[in-house]
Amino acid sequence: MIALGQFLEVLIGGLMSGVLYSLVALGFVLIFKASGVFNFAQGAMVLLAGLALVRALDLLVANGFPLWVAIVLGIAFAAAIMATTAWLIERFVIGPLVNQDGLTLFMSTIGVTFVIEGAAEMIFGSDVYPLRLFPTDAWFVLEDVFPGGILVNKLDVWGALIAGILVAGLAIFFQRTKTGRALRAVADDHLAAHSVGIPIGWIWFVVWLAAGLVALVAATVWGTKLGVQFSITFLALKALPVLIIGGLTSIPGAIAGGLIVGAGEKIAEVYLGPSIGGGIEYWFAYVLALAVLLVRPQGLFGERIIERV
């Protein structure tokens, strides 16, 4: 019973941190679906959003604003920063690179990553800033079934809740609104979409803005967990295997991939780690992705890759 309890605890902890990976992966999927750009800068955008939010909050609270006003204003400020970033990226990088192949676009987003990281740290500072938007203490559930109960972190539950709302919101946005439909049209074939009168530049701005806002949401959760700091950008790298496993074009895939990676790496760390030296978490996700790639290159939920000559 203790073993099962421990397993459940590890599994739940893993699934919850998987949700957080999914939050970052969602931003990738949004941009990839709508513009075919593999956005390496998503992690940097999470950092930028987090820094903007936490610095604005600190400043407002220090100037005597009540907490809820500070939070609303801080989020508005961070959202404005993300909107500006989205506009700049669309205007100066992605726009001029229309019709280049995926590799060039991918490399340009690596460039964007560096600019965002440098600029964000130069403007907002480069220390570790604690962010306390959500409770971080733990619950013990099912205490009557398992001795000592199962430890569940409240923050993880919040993260899962937010991810759920976000996915529902995005699904409605993509399926029901005019802009969402235009987005899907652009994703399908941007030349055809252009010729029926969809303003491509505007659509791309909207996509990058949506990715920026998803980054902001991810930043609130991750920032509460780790503090807003530079190492958040490595999340982007962790989100890559999540995407590969889930499939690059699928929003449910991003969630499922995140859960698989989160649960898998925690379980591997706890049950395999001690025998081969620990720290498996560092590479487990990538090797899992490699295995998935060899068996099913399009990922679990991705559309089959068909190449035409």
Partner: protein, 375 residues
Amino acid sequence: MLYREAGQFKTTYAEDMAIFPIRQDRIALAVLLGIAFIGVPLLATFHIWPFGSDYLLWAILLPFLILALAAIGTNILVGYCGQISLGSGAFMAIGAYSAYKLVTGVHIPLAWLSFAISIPPLPVFASILLGGLIAAGVGILFGIPSLRIKGLYLAVATLAAQFFFDWAFLRIPWFTNYAPSGSVNAPELNFFGLIVQSPIERYLLCLLLVTLMALLAKNLVRGNLGRQWMAIRDMDIAAELIGIRPLYAKLTAFAVSSFIIGVAGALWAFVYLGSWEPLAFSIDRSLQLLFMVIIGGLGSIMGSFVGAAFILIVPIMLNLIPAELGVPLSTETIAHFEFIIFGSLICYLLIKEPHGFARLISIGKEKLRLWPFPY
């Protein structure tokens, strides 16, 4: 006026196929090699400006040469064969640690067979080359997915290599000969009885190796194999239709690239760093190499040198220029500026000149041929 090939007639096929068919290019290269092989060591020996101290040799020329070599390796894979790799740093690490293990002697106890594989310590030079070969082997292993997947998906596969080997060299004590701190020291650099110690000797050693390997790479990419790589890069399906085996072409690209990167890694560890830990070959190194290749020019050997020089010199300039102007910046600000400038340059170059500095140089040459007339 000076750079014009009028009157240089070629009478044999061999002349037609030369690496540098234009006489002025050959002269320029000879002058450059003369300066590098004779001029620099002479100036450094007598401490004539700008070699007053060993700073230029140690902090700029030595890393430049080794990283240029690694950039050539990366360029073969990314620029010539079109297989994007984010794992170059890991292959440098494999070269470095393999060479280290070979030079200190390998001992693998196979307890369940009551038997142990032992290789006596090898000479430094053999270890470096064998380290490259081991990196090539691992490169082939991680290149196998490239037969099924490509582009961004492959980037993730190479990222898996990067993170796995980062972890392996950090956590598996066997690789570091159970060093308690996790950092290892290079052996004495004994090349056939000649002990390489002073900066000038190290510089000459690297220069010699880099020149030879650059020549090798240049000849490979303009030969049969290189053309196969480029065909695969430009359109793999079409290449397959005209009879190029993707398996062979892609895996040879991985092997050659990893070999060169592995040798560069071993040199970086043995000749430049002296003592190192896995952090020296992290994902940052991989991205740095990728940038050198993009900025220098995808699919150009010379571009790898230009890119390496650029990436190394920009931070130094950023350090020097504000200090000269009387606005000294903090190291933190400089690091941030570096990020911003690199990032913007990459975006700018990708938009304006996707072929990097190498292309700019060849445009310059075209202009020079017509100079002083506009056409």
